[in-house]
């Protein structure tokens, strides 16, 4: 079993507009075998949390810690965190010309293996074909350049394909449902559910409860104003769907202005 602990995490982003503290003390403990969902209104720090866990250099951790099995990840660059077992399905995957999807996934798998023991071409292709079939993806997708010219839906499926091929201990899915129709969402859910087991944990970030109808979470967290304000079981998501974030905020007596509030 692997454990990921987020401990009183404070994160700042430095951009043209100056310094802005986005996460203001996030606490979270996840174990493999569990699916956690984080819900929350826009602009509340959900994506910042996922990017910071992964190690995006644009985000500055000002205090707190991120621990994988007790080891701090803060001084580890993104590639080392990935090899340690983290995976982030991104909202906006980069497009890379001249590098095929298959070639990229093989490089990612081999990055986790000893130099003198790369995955055999036969094993790789077998696994790739199985996963393409599971995700209703055309075989030609493997030979296309990485995300180059992919539609929004294709990019999301391709993130899940990489997840299935790389088999990380923890996968963070950052709004994997955005821009997906119901059919595509079911396919994505099928992919994630196929990973469920004792050696896999996931943190699903979403605005809407709908995805959670297909991937049932063990724990649901609500994030507002850069903190987790409430955690519960799958019922919490349903309650939110009915009452909205303002309802929960007022119930908790929080003094937070929601971005999209009129």
């Amino acid at each position: 079993m692997t454990t990921l602990v987020i401990n009183d995490l404070h994160v700042r982003i430095d951009d043209e507009s100056g310094h802005k503290e986005i996460l203001k003390g996030v606490n979270l403990t996840m174990k493999t075998g569990e699916i956690h969902a984080i819900m929350g209104p826009n602009g509340t720090g959900k994506s910042t949390l996922s990017e910071t866990i992964m190690g995006n250099p644009r985000y500055q951790v000002t205090s707190g810690d991120i621990l994988l099995d007790g080891q701090s990840l803060l001084d580890q660059p993104v590639d080392a965190r990935a090899r340690a077992g983290l995976f982030l399905a991104m909202q906006y995957p980069a497009e890379i010309m001249g590098v095929t999807n298959a070639e990229f996934m093989r490089a990612a798998i081999n990055a986790r293996r000893p130099d003198d023991d790369p995955i055999s071409v036969r094993d790789f292709i077998k696994e790739l074909d199985q996963n393409l079939a599971l995700l209703d993806m055309n075989e030609a997708m493997a030979e296309r350049y990485l995300n180059q010219g992919f539609s929004g839906g294709e990019k999301k499926r391709n993130e899940i394909l990489q997840l299935l091929m790389i088999k990380p201990a923890f996968a963070i899915l950052d709004e994997i449902d955005s821009g997906l129709d119901i059919d595509a969402m079911k396919v994505v859910a099928k992919g994630v559910n196929s990973m469920r087991g004792d050696n896999f944990g996931s943190l699903i970030i979403t605005h809407y409860q709908r995805l959670l109808d297909y991937i049932e979470p063990d724990v649901v967290h609500v994030m507002m104003g850069g903190r987790i304000v409430k955690s519960g079981d799958a019922q919490l998501a349903k309650k939110l769907e009915a009452e909205g974030y303002t309802g929960l905020r007022d119930e908790l007596g929080l003094d937070i202005k929601l971005t999209d509030e009129n």
Partner: protein, 426 residues
């Protein structure tokens, strides 16, 4: 501008020519070229300062001790300053392809030499050319007969001699007969690590209707002036695919003249500069004939403190009606201390033409790096993939699979070396 001291006395040159038993006409040419070295201007290439490295050095002597030719499967192989080794394929022999060492060509093909040698690259117009023609001490002449169609490429491997102080001044002359069709795969490397500088001139003559695909992979480590000049007759077509993967400082001067009506040429070049290396690459295509077509596509990558300059020159002369000149030059810089430039230069002296250009100098996209690394790829590997993608748009355009594969492998080798050098320096 001060002139550098001449590389040798005229009497040395005469002695050398006599040792080779050159005909009078060859000696006269050397003599005129030698005189031109004292009066001809240095050639000028925009934004490239080659003075510190491109002046030819070395001793003009007939090689006393031959450097062994490395094992090579090429049909034509030569170490600069030494005789050529020719092992033509059965296909090329049957087709009547003929190859002679430059010295033998002066003796056996005097008419052909007078007609073509030094005619594609003007030999007294500028300093580096004049120096080359005065000192040329090795070379090869290739004739492909009219109407010859070759399936397999003509392969040739050329080596600079970096051992000892002998002069490296090598010349290649190719005559592609009318309506011939074939491809060439050239490899250039350096033996040894002493550092005299070198001069290489290639002249390609394409007679009417000839179609030639020329792929070259340069991995030179001596400071070198490398000129590739071509002249195309009516309806001829020449496609260049050049991998400029040198480890030394190189001044590359690529020039194609579209003389004949309807002739066309495409130059696809990829280059990588690493360490403290300087590479300046000027690619010029001139449309003289009507309805001629030129296309230049150059992509380059710079690591560490290296310099890489691409000049693309598209020149359409007056009267070349219905001609087309296009070019794209792009440079990717991987470090803050890299120096690079991409200069498109269009010189248009005719109205009824089409011309266009694109150019960019940029840095590696950090979003792409983050994405690749987020899947566990090391920074170096991620960087190589992004670079491969950047060069890939040129690479994928190279028609010969064999040349493409060799070039892909060479790029990988050069990048790994460059990254290792950089990582050590940090």
């Amino acid at each position: 501008m001060s002139k550098t001291k001449t590389f040798c006395e005229l009497s040395d040159l005469q002695h050398y020519s006599q040792q080779l038993q050159e005909p009078a006409v060859a000696w006269q040419m050397r003599q005129q070229a030698w005189q031109a070295t004292m009066t001809a201007p240095n050639p000028s290439f925009a934004k490239i300062n080659y003075r510190p490295w491109a002046n030819l050095q070395g001793q003009l002597t007939v090689a006393s001790q031959a450097v062994p030719l490395p094992a090579s499967t090429a049909q034509i192989a030569q170490v600069a300053g030494q005789p050529v080794q020719v092992r033509l394929s059965t296909e090329a022999q049957t087709a009547g392809v003929e190859v002679l060492d430059l010295v033998a060509a002066w003796q056996q093909w005097p008419d052909l030499m007078q007609q073509y040698f030094g005619q594609v690259m003007p030999w007294t117009s500028q300093q580096l050319a004049a120096t080359h023609y005065a000192t040329v001490n090795s070379g090869v002449v290739i004739r492909v007969p009219a109407n010859t169609k070759l399936q397999a490429p003509l392969t040739w491997d050329f080596y600079q001699n970096g051992t000892g102080r002998q002069l490296n001044s090598q010349h290649v002359l190719l005559i592609a007969g009318a309506d011939s069709e074939f491809s060439i795969l050239e490899n250039r490397r350096t033996l040894g690590s002493d550092q005299p500088s070198a001069s290489i001139v290639e002249e390609l003559v394409l007679l009417a209707g000839a179609k030639v695909r020329f792929a070259a992979i340069d991995q030179l480590s001596l400071p070198t002036y490398l000129a590739r000049y071509a002249r195309l007759a009516t309806n001829a077509r020449l496609d260049w695919a050049l991998g400029i993967m040198n480890d030394g400082d190189v001044l590359a001067d690529f020039n194609t003249d579209l003389n004949g009506q309807g002739s066309q040429s495409e130059v696809k070049a990829v280059a990588i500069s690493t360490g403290r290396q300087n590479q300046g690459i000027t690619t010029r295509i001139t449309n003289y004939g009507q309805h001629t077509k030129a296309n230049i596509l150059q992509h380059g990558v710079i690591l560490s403190d290296a310099t890489l300059i691409f000049n693309g020159i598209g020149h359409i002369v007056k009267g070349a009606r219905g001609s087309d000149s296009q070019q794209e030059n792009r440079v990717l810089m991987l470090s803050r201390t890299a120096r690079g430039d991409a200069n498109p230069i269009l010189l248009i002296d005719e109205n009824d033409v089409r011309a266009g250009h694109a150019a960019s100098v940029g840095r590696v996209n950090q979003e792409q790096m983050y994405y690749l690394m987020s899947r566990g790829l090391s920074k170096d590997l991620a960087e190589r993939l992004v670079i491969r993608g950047f060069l890939g748009s040129v690479l994928s355009e190279i028609p010969a699979a064999e040349a493409r594969q060799i070039l892909t492998d060479t790029i990988e080798r050069k990048l790994i070396d460059g990254q290792r050098h950089r990582d050590r320096a940090q």
